[in-house]
Amino acid sequence: MTVRRPSAGKSSSRTSAQSRRRLVVGILLLVALVLVTLSFRDGDDGPVSRAQNGAAAVLRPFQVAADRIAEPFRDAYGWVDSLFDARSDAEQLRDENEALRQQVVQAQLAQRENARLRELLQFRDGPRLPDGFQGLAAAVISRPAGAYAQAIVVAAGWNDGVRVDDPVVTADGLVGTVSRVGTRTARVRLLTDDQSAVSAVDLVTDAAGIVRAGRGPRAPLRLDRVPKEAVVRVGDTIVTAGWESPRFSSLYPKGIQIGRVTSVGRTDTDLYTQVQVEPFADMSSLQAVLVLVPADRSAG
């Protein structure tokens, strides 16, 4: 019995096909690497970035359309998903309701005192948005996938007055800042991203710290750099500090709600108090946001 061996011609054609395959993949990977390098070197004003922004503007209608089509299905999924959590939520809400009832009484007393103090200090009562800012409503049109991309893309960009570092909020609280601006779209770095850092204070005790992405799945945020002697309690509300100095100022206006303290821990070895914060804004189901644009910019 003999086995028919492939001829020399077949062997050479197989080798050339193999070389061709490797060549194609090599070229594609090389192009990708060159694009990564150019993107990094050029920054936001280079030709690669401009081309990317142009292409993003062209693709935007498709993203918006897909998002609109998917919205009812996403809502339905969210509704079914929320049913599973409904029981535990009901118990938690009952407790919260009780606590809130007591807080209402306290708040009414505080309100009267506050009104008196305002008159004394001639403190100007601002609208819901921070002073000097206008809210630019923008739909969320995409969310980069993966655990390493805590960002969203919104349907507002340079043409709408959005710039890098503009704060982004929802009715519930702070969401993040604009990290990159295209012509008609902008990328928003969420608070849950490792690169985010917000100067914040405890609304009740004035304990100051920096809100960063959390390390555990229980609370997506943590209040870092809180001195051990500072008082922070579970349930306290954390808001942006909004500090200002003659030369620098915080990116975030003062008093935007961030989240609620879910746990406080102190150990002998730690330099700071460990504070975990649950954000008010649900980062996983953002549909629309407000980009806070300085009033002087939007007017101009």
């Binding site: 086995v3 395959r21 192009v31 060159v34 990564v36 980069p144 993966g146 990328r187």
Partner: protein, 171 residues
Amino acid sequence: MSVALRIAPLVFVAAVLQVSAIAGARILGAEPDLLLVTVVAVGLVAGSIAGAGAGFAAGLLVDVMTLGVLGTTAIILTPAGYWAGRYGETTGRGRTYAPPLAAFAVSLAAGLGGVAIHFLLGQPVSAREALVTLLPSAILAAVLVLPIVRLCRVVIAPQQQYEPARRVELV
């Protein structure tokens, strides 16, 4: 119609759906990656070069739409499509379990590759977060790939039937 023209709409639709409709969704702790699964399916059905090309184009589309660093996703998806294609052309040819196995393996490799690339680019990565979702996402990819491969066969190679491995001819 050429194979590239048949693949292009598939990749485009998958990319748009990935960044807008299903991004951020979680099913039992897993993140569905429709785009990666589509690239794997294209590689298995149309071969390694088509898989690599689909991965490259898909990666660029995603980076453009999400205003990310251009090329980072392409670096991950190009070898993913190529490897799936090579597997489909060689060991996995004609095997029923090839698509889920390829999707599972590629999903794991792409997850680890993604963490490594973002780390190399100096972007902070929570390895714990990435690793926690890695296994469930790979299992979900193995399930998702079955209907996608079927769709790819209908769109890319409608006349081509699923051939079993050729026998060795003895004389």
